[in-house]
């Protein structure tokens, strides 16, 4: 018998959430006033949760490491947010969104959670519009949708290329309203550095004021972690510089199981790394693949000539180019899912065909789209036998109207004009599907401690569909957690205020201050970034897009060594009682150095290929799918939840078997 109780309600899938809400325990309004909740993180999930909980009447303390809750990294999401509204009358439904999400997740997500997500998706759009989020509209004044991520319907709502920003500012405005009312106390530039448990229940946190270095004890009846994903374990990712796993990792060390850490999404259309001083990678919306064709030169001498600057990509004839996605996947071509496109790019570059100086870039070429649109427009404008220049001009105008902001961003960063020469792209770590294990109520395996948004594991399985991350964050924060948390808090109404001077709090604070003291006293020779980069290299090399047993074992060993070196040789300047960004960073990297090892351990144990996790040992050996990822539902259709036992290598595996009652499991094919 597993120690994991997912608490999925009984009954037919489509009624589970309704029934659950109908029978869940509630807290009456007068009692809510006496209950405190801590929310860590102010992104889509944390911001919306804090606002909703405060509005229901709870006293909320909200924490973010940034200077304002508005800066959480949800803000950087570009593409859009899915919702089963069926506004376009193309046959979309709650079931279809549910089905697409489970299938997209390669059948490694929890059915009941995904269905609930689909059910509330429509409310999210209603809610955001009511808050004044300026979604894209058509000329009739109604909401516009686009198709996204290779699904068959148009269900993605968007606000130009800044959907995440607009949704986050919506949640931020709701949060502001509660701050103004005094229902939320906001702690900016504060980082959660420890969870405090009293008699087995989460009762508060230790937070560090980043400006003064002071440690603070904050008590509450429940703690909600909404601190986002752990993509920065790779050092280079599309995450913000400050995005970190510390809050999630601290609760893991206090008893919250960490699920499926190896499920990472690597996004194919990012701007390539330019050199060793690169600090982060910039993502460009995958909508670019609708019109761009991906290629590398066929011949090695052309590759070398291009790298040396002797040859320009536009000088290569069609015969000298290898449109490898079109070659390998004739049915889907350039529109294969993210994981497939990413792996193919890596495969070509590993084979030596990368087109920039670092050897890690492939072309994304809009020339044929410009030609196609140009001719189309010329026909529309009734221009007989248009000149080459005219076609180019008309075609470029169409491309500009569709991707203008992305092209401009690319030109600013790379200093090349993508209308005239192909863009260079390369995959980058983008999103982590894995995270803290939670039950149906979003409670972790620590009683009273909840985890929402990207920080938990529940909804995306082993691969996330485009435009689903925003949906999950807001669903958790606005419409799920506020209800489910009541089930637990209804038992806390007579608890009274939680003291923050109990032995447990004092002990936790002492542990934190000892840890900081230890870090400061190492006085080694290497910077924090030095170790972070080493970790990133190992992660990318052995735990990146394609993984195998030998590499993963090696990764675990190397990460452990880097961790030991870090604790012996890191150099942190300044002191602990002032604004010391290096010290903050050191704490986060220390956690990544542990998480990275568990990540590799999880990848090692999962000897199958699914979604974002590709094991070289688990591929189709023959037939049409030869060489493609092979999932193993027989042995691995479960959630791997790891229990902390001191060293990451010693973590104990608990399995939550996944049952698919409403969906037939199928192998994905894009040939």
């Amino acid at each position: 018998m597993s120690v994991l109780d997912s608490k999925i309600p009984d009954g037919p899938l489509k009624d589970k959430w309704t029934n659950h809400k109908n029978h869940i325990n509630l807290v009456n309004p007068a009692n809510k006033r006496n209950i405190d909740i801590i929310v860590v993180g102010t992104g889509l999930a944390g911001g919306s949760a804090a606002a909703s909980l405060a509005e229901m009447g709870y006293n909320v303390k909200s924490f973010c490491y940034q200077d304002s809750p508005r800066r959480a990294h949800s803000i950087a999401a570009q593409g859009g947010i899915n919702a089963a509204k069926n506004y376009q009358n193309d046959g979309d439904s709650v079931y279809r969104l549910f089905y697409d999400t489970v299938k997209g997740g390669d059948y490694r997500s929890r059915e009941a959670n995904v269905h609930r997500l689909s059910e509330v998706s429509g409310n999210i759009i209603d809610q955001c519009v009511a808050q004044g989020v300026p979604f894209g509209r058509d000329y009739g004044g109604l909401l516009d949708n686009r198709s996204f991520g290779g699904v068959l319907v148009s269900r993605t709502f968007y606000a130009k290329g800044q959907t995440g920003q607009q949704l986050l500012l919506g949640a931020y405005s709701a949060l502001n309203r509660q701050i103004a009312k005094g229902k939320v106390t906001m702690y900016n530039r504060h980082e959660m550095v420890e969870l405090v448990k009293v008699e087995g229940k989460a009762r508060g946190i230790i937070a560090r004021n980043l400006e003064t270095g002071e440690l603070e004890r904050h008590s509450a009846h429940a703690v909600v972690i909404a601190s986002g994903g752990y993509g920065n374990v790779f050092f280079l990712s599309t995450n913000a510089m400050g995005s970190n796993a510390t809050a999630a990792w601290k609760i893991h060390k206090k008893g919250a199981h960490f699920a499926n850490p190896c499920y990472t999404q690597i996004h194919p259309t990012c701007i390539p790394r330019s050199g060793d001083h690169q600090s982060k990678l910039t993502l460009m919306s995958e909508s670019l693949r609708n019109d761009g064709r991906i290629w590398v030169p066929k011949n090695m001498e052309d590759v070398l000539a291009i790298r040396e600057g002797k040859l320009m990509p536009i000088d290569l004839s069609e015969e000298q180019r290898d449109y490898y996605l079109e070659r390998m996947y004739p049915a889907f071509g350039n529109l294969v899912p993210r994981d497939v496109a990413s792996r193919a790019a890596k495969e070509r570059c590993d084979a030596g065909y990368g087109v920039n100086k670092t050897g890690e870039a492939v072309y994304l070429d809009f020339a044929s789209a410009i030609q196609r649109y140009g001719k189309q427009e010329a026909a529309i404008a009734r221009i007989k036998s248009p000149s080459v220049d005219e076609i180019l001009k008309l075609g470029e105008a169409v491309i500009e109207s569709k991707y203008g902001n992305l092209f401009q961003m690319y030109e600013k960063i790379v200093a090349e004009n993508p209308y005239k020469t192909p863009m260079m792209i390369y995959p980058a770590v983008h999103y982590t599907m894995g995270g803290v294990w939670v039950d149906y109520n979003l409670m972790t395996s620590v009683e009273g401690c909840y985890c929402i948004g990207e920080a938990n594991f529940s909804d995306h399985g082993s691969n996330r569909l485009g435009a689903s991350a925003l949906m999950q964050g807001l669903a958790d924060g606005y419409f799920v957690l506020p209800y489910t948390i009541g089930d637990y808090l209804s038992k806390e109404i007579s608890t009274g205020a939680i003291a923050n001077d109990s032995a447990e709090f004092i002990q936790a604070e002492r542990e934190v201050s000892d840890r900081i003291e230890k870090l400061m006293n190492i006085k080694g020779t290497k910077t924090v970034d030095h170790f972070h980069k080493l970790l990133g290299k190992v992660m990318w090399e052995y735990v990146g897009m394609a993984r195998n047993e030998e590499g993963l074992k090696r990764a675990m060993k190397e990460i452990k060594k880097i961790r030991t070196d870090f604790w012996n040789d890191v150099k942190i300047p300044g002191d602990k009682n002032s604004f010391n960004p290096e010290l903050g960073k050191a704490g986060r990297v220390a956690d990544f150095l542990e998480l990275g090892e568990l990540f590799a351990k999880d990848a090692l144990h999962r000897n199958e290929s699914c979604g974002g996790h590709f094991r070289e040992e688990s591929v189709e050996l023959d037939g049409e799918q030869k060489g493609e990822a092979k999932r193993n539902d027989e042995d691995y259709a479960y959630v791997a939840a790891w229990e902390y036992k001191g060293e990451p290598a010693d973590a104990i595996l608990h399995k939550e078997e996944l049952e698919f009652k409403d969906i037939e499991l199928k192998q994905r094919s894009y040939k």
Binding site: A76, V129, P134, N176, A240, S279, P573
Partner: protein
């Protein structure tokens, strides 16, 4: 390229602070400005000196955290970019670059190049929202069509990232472009109508309380705004304010 940097150093809020000179070498044109600072800090740490603290996070121009006054301009010499998107190819070998924090009484320096922008949060809290509960029981999103032009205008101003470049660049440290952006967003949308008048009155009042200066229409803010928000919206706010304050019953 090799550069001489004149960087503002200040230990904490109380410290008086001053400019320090640092040399960095081997900078390449494709480095972003912040990566150049990373290199400088790496050098400082190795030399046993305190690295320069600066605000940054997403490094893709959307979070609004980075905030440097570079060679006399907010976010440096390039247009429509934040500091993190500014690239070193904009500078010449041997150049001297001044790097200073935003300067405003309402945004005091916390350390080195980092300022306290909580005044912006407080302005938002004074009215930058629609008072709707997060119950999910609102009307259907398509029940209220919004003319595309209004939706687009609302979006134009909603693009504000709250970085504070407008304040930093304004000779009067005025925050009117920032406030106008939020006031206009809701004024253009039907959802914002109920609280339209009180919102502009409250937000302007809070802005004044924070100690920002007055707008004298120099237009510098719209030039330096990384999101290109137009001062047309300051006029809009003036209009909103005028009508609200004339018709207000208090």
């Amino acid at each position: 390229m090799d550069l001489t940097l004149k960087v503002w150093r200040q230990k904490n809020r109380e410290d008086k602070g001053g400019l320090e000179t640092y040399k960095v070498t081997g900078i390449l044109g494709h480095y972003s400005f912040l990566e150049m600072l990373d290199v400088m800090n790496e050098q400082l740490i190795t030399q046993g000196k305190d690295p320069v603290a600066f605000d940054h996070d997403c490094r893709e121009g959307i979070c609004g955290t980075c905030s440097l006054y570079i060679n006399g301009e907010a976010h440096g010499p390039d247009r429509k970019v934040t500091t993190c998107q500014l690239h070193m190819r904009m500078f010449n070998d041997g150049e001297t670059i001044y790097i200073e924090p935003w300067r405003s009484a309402a945004m005091p320096v916390i350390k080195d190049l980092i300022v306290d922008r909580s005044s912006f949060d407080r302005i938002q809290q004074s009215g930058g929202f629609v008072s709707v509960n997060t119950s999910g029981n609102t009307q259907d999103a398509n029940a209220l069509p919004i003319p595309k032009m209004n939706a687009d205008k609302a979006f134009d101003v909603a693009a504000c990232i709250g970085c504070g470049a407008c304040v930093a660049t304004c000779k009067n440290s005025s925050a009117m472009l920032f406030v106008a952006a939020k006031v206009s967003q809701y004024a253009y949308l039907p959802q914002g109508q109920v609280e339209r008048k009180q919102r502009v009155l409250n937000m302007v009042e809070q802005m004044d309380k924070e100690g920002f200066g007055n707008c004298t229409n120099t237009g510098a803010c719209e030039i330096e705004c990384p999101k290109g928000i137009s001062i047309e919206y300051i006029a809009k706010m003036n209009r909103e304010y005028l009508s609200a304050s004339i018709s207000s019953e208090e």
